[in-house]
Symmetry: C2
Subunit: 578 residues, 2 copies
């Protein structure tokens, strides 16, 4: 039995479709891992194409381009074994892990468990593999798994462990939602203990449209101890020595090991044995102590997800500057905070667009916030345009009282002005609607929802407050004007309007929405939870009827267990209520 195995986990931010860029990043990371003395270096799931590549996977030339890049990476991979996620085109297409060593692609493992729920569509693209796989690196047997494979107890994990794998690596692209990181970590500890194996989890990091990948790469010992943890939401190279000998001893002591190894052997491919040695000398310690990064607290974690998601959406799509409407309310305040943290104050322009219904309070707060943040603030009053529309429509609307129409026009004038700034200066418009509003349709299509990226579209109103407070506290309470946390929410589209004129209080609303949207609870189950029957009835109706609006929203970052969009696919034409 060999001594420690040095593993490097590359927590990288791959860009979907940027095969050339990802290729460069992978090659550079292999080099760095080699220089750090690693014998084995692992990359996230589909690191070569980014995740999820969606229907790009239907293009033959895309798959061929990915394969060509893989071969190029392999050709310069020596004195180290690299496990790289990529889409394999064989008779079918597979979500695969390629084993690169000695200058070539040596073998491939194919993901067994293909998720096809929630945001996932993997059965649309991939055929599942059929068997586990192991490689031997300097005498240590290492089992290969990809993402969902390790969420499922049993094969391939159990087969690989039973047939001798003392280390299980997992290549992942695991979309974030609040609390996912800690839940995933507990699951990995459980798997490590169950299989008596070291588990090395390599997570993708970065924002991709509506998803954020949180990184949070981990090495967990066979007894569940976290040996190393990369920081959440950052790129990292995690280098760790793991000890297969202790694993072996623990297995000898374990009386629970059930099936004979031979049975598992039949269900596992042995993909090859690689002699690497320590290129920089046996016995040298890893370049740094394996770091165990501290976990963020729950609110800080969501905040960081929103910052990373916003940063990556802007930068990966070529936007250097963003613009948003600052109303003096808590939603646009939070979006401004996030934008500044994501892109810097110089890259953010705020616009205040007061109407005759805007209060002095909100106007002053918007100005103070902009000053505190150090961002440019433009003022574009909309009263003249409101009058102009009234005139243009005067004849057609004669005899009809003002109603929601005129409120929506105000929001749409503002949307037009922001889009005009976007068109003229190439700025990305950030919209500021939260999930509670979006759920019940309390927003104006082409108005406040007009823009390129909806930063907080999956953030319920109560969490909006917590996030803004969290950021303000970090800044010593001098960023956000205090009234913003206490003033009753209002769209300010007519005199003395308040959100709770037309909606239940936000604690009730958010509780109904969480049950209905995230957990598929019906009317009766919600009422049984103690929620007011009238509110439940009304909110369900509002959510269902607003589906048409949500279809036309810009993308935004998923942070709950179920976001609108691909995560929740409901018909617009739908007569079911409940």
């Amino acid at each position: 039995m060999t001594a420690a195995l040095r593993i490097a986990l590359v927590q990288m931010n791959a860009v979907v479709g940027d095969i050339a860029g990802n290729e460069r990043a992978i090659s550079a990371a292999i080099e760095r891992a080699h220089d750090a003395g690693a014998q084995l270096v692992c990359f996230p799931e589909l690191a070569l194409t980014g995740y999820p590549p969606e229907d790009l996977l239907l293009k033959e030339h895309f798959l061929a381009d990915a394969r060509a890049a893989l071969e190029r990476i392999a050709s310069s991979t020596t004195q180290i074994v690299a496990v790289v996620g990529y889409p394999e085109r064989a008779e079918d297409v597979h979500n695969a892990a390629a084993v690169l060593a000695d200058g070539a692609v040596r073998a491939t493992y194919r993901k067994l468990h293909l998720p096809n729920y929630g945001v996932f569509d993997e059965l649309r693209y991939f055929q599942p593999g059929e068997r586990g796989a192991t490689i031997e690196v300097d005498g240590v047997t290492v089992g290969l798994t990809i993402c969902e494979d390790i969420w499922q107890p049993g094969p391939p994990l159990s087969d690989e462990a039973l047939s001798g794998a003392r280390v299980i690596v997992n290549l992942s692209a695991s979309p974030y939602h609040a609390g996912k990181g800690i839940a995933r970590e507990r699951m990995l500890q459980q798997r490590a203990r169950d299989e008596l194996a070291v588990v090395a989890y390599c997570g993708l990091v970065g924002g991709q449209d509506e998803l954020v990948f949180d990184g949070h790469s981990l090495v967990v010992d066979h007894d569940g101890t976290v040996l190393a943890r990369a920081a959440q939401f950052e790129q990292a190279l995690l280098v760790v020595d793991v000890d297969p000998v202790t694993v072996g001893s623990a297995r000898l002591r374990d009386t629970r090991r059930r099936a004979p190894a031979a049975a598992a052997d039949d269900r596992v491919d042995r993909l090859g044995s690689f002699a690497v040695g320590r290129p920089d000398g046996n016995g040298t310690p890893p370049p740094t102590d394996p770091p165990v990064a501290e976990l963020l607290d729950p609110v800080a974690e969501v905040y960081r997800a929103l910052v990373l998601g916003t940063h990556d959406y802007a930068h990966k799509n070529g936007f250097a500057h963003v613009v948003l409407g600052l109303s003096g309310g808590i939603d646009s305040t939070l979006v401004a905070l996030i934008a500044v943290d994501a892109l810097g104050a110089d890259a953010v322009t705020c616009v205040t667009m007061p109407s005759p219904y805007s209060s002095q309070g909100t106007r002053g707060d918007a100005q103070r916030l902009a000053t505190n943040l150090g961002v440019q603030l433009l003022e574009l009053p909309i009263a003249p345009l409101m009058r102009d529309y009234d005139e243009a429509l005067g004849e057609v609307f004669a005899g009809h009282e003002p109603d929601l129409t005129e409120e929506n026009l105000q929001a749409r004038i503002r949307g037009n002005l922001l889009m005009a700034l976007s068109n003229k200066f190439g700025w990305l418009v950030l919209t500021t609607g939260n999930k509670s509003e979006m759920s019940v349709g309390y927003s104006t299509l082409y108005g406040d929802s007009a823009g390129g990226f909806a930063v907080i579209k999956d953030v319920p109103k109560q969490l909006v407050y917590r996030l803004a407070r969290h950021r303000d506290e970090r800044a010593g309470d001098d960023l956000v004007p205090a009234e913003l946390f206490t003033r009753p929410p209002s769209a300010e589209l007519r005199p003395d309007q308040r959100d709770d004129d037309s909606l239940p209080p936000y604690d009730v609303l958010d509780a109904i929405l969480e049950g209905y949207v995230e957990h598929d609870l019906g009317r009766e189950q919600l009422i049984a939870r103690g929620l007011p029957a009238g509110d439940v009835e009304r909110v369900i109706g509002l959510v269902d009827v607003a589906e048409y609006k949500r279809r036309q929203q810009p993308p935004g970052i998923k942070v709950t267990t179920r976001a609108f969009g691909r995560d929740r696919r409901v018909p617009i034409t739908n007569r079911y209520r409940g």
Copy 2:
């Protein structure tokens, strides 16, 4: 051996989520089929819930409601056997066909082949069944299949036929695209000949969000003869006598029948034997000769799909009236024609919103068309609002030349006006953009694309002309002003603008788009087809970059082999080109 079996196929328009309404329609149709002397009556796939119910299937109470409705239908089903599509909640959820007879649910067949490509997500919801199934109705063995099951040669179809089924029924919800009906018919003829069985295909009809189901129910004899065909795009009750004796004779003569029936028997569940008899007297002819409806010609077929899709989207969502901007161009002309055919002239308001760049020609044509169609025409000039926005933005834009910003503002003013009419009067806004424009982003977000339903979003520009001409010809050439067919297309957002200033000619553009969007061809493959390299390069770039716009479009009707939306899932953040 018995004599003829009388089968009724109920080509119904089920509404998604309207379990109560669908239940009533199913019960009424069983009654009518019974009165027509049918022994067996079949309904489309998931007729009880509508198709596709999408994530409604994740709600336990939805499945329970569907089951309760099924039981109620069964309780009054006597003297006939009904096969009804519904989602079955067992240990898992299945896409199922329930066999109702003698007042109860007697048995269930579970769909084997679950499509998870294109617009389909069936593996998200369902577990596949494992075996074929047959029932015996008055001595005739009938095989059960659901939609995709019959598109796949082999099991369950071949097993059912081998184990004695002389009639194969297929419950379908098959989304329409141009030419799908005839392709499907040929496939069914092939299956009937291959299996030497009568094939009775019962298709769903109606519009559901972006999908139209074309009906086109069929009974095909074992030699491929079409015995009966229901009209496309209409509800129908098709009653046919089929002759199992001839099938038996043909099988005796056939030397190709390969496997012994016993082998197939093991793979087929015999779900029961039902004695019905002819309730209205043996030997009476069906109420009408089995009709073989004529097939629509290819352009008429697409036109009907668009009319039905528009009608159903409006009506199923509670809109009695629609509004659209009439520019005097061919796109809005076609949408107006479709709207009037779908909803009636009284239910359509057109709005002309001239700017200083609108030509006398287009303005006159819009007026003539509105007169010819007999629809209300409002005129809302936008020049004053254009000036007002210029003023509002004057200071911020100082030193910048007019550009696309000002063009987009014109479109957005028009969008706002239409939405204001929609808000004030409860009208559904129909947008008028075609697929060619939408592909390359030649439209203004929140401008011409603002609205509730995008009737022709999947119709390429050249097909737009053909459809308008088709409708005009049907009307004796006096509906559409002739200049509309010859004037070069223009957005009229600046003086003397023409589409082909900034886009390739539409024949080239549409050819590139068909290859790129519908068939996943890459740059090199398109050039190899003889398309100009420069245009190919440019169009691919435009299509990829416009994805963010398409995400915010209203739903519209799929008529090509691949529409934008759920049919083509590509990332916005995507650096792949080619």
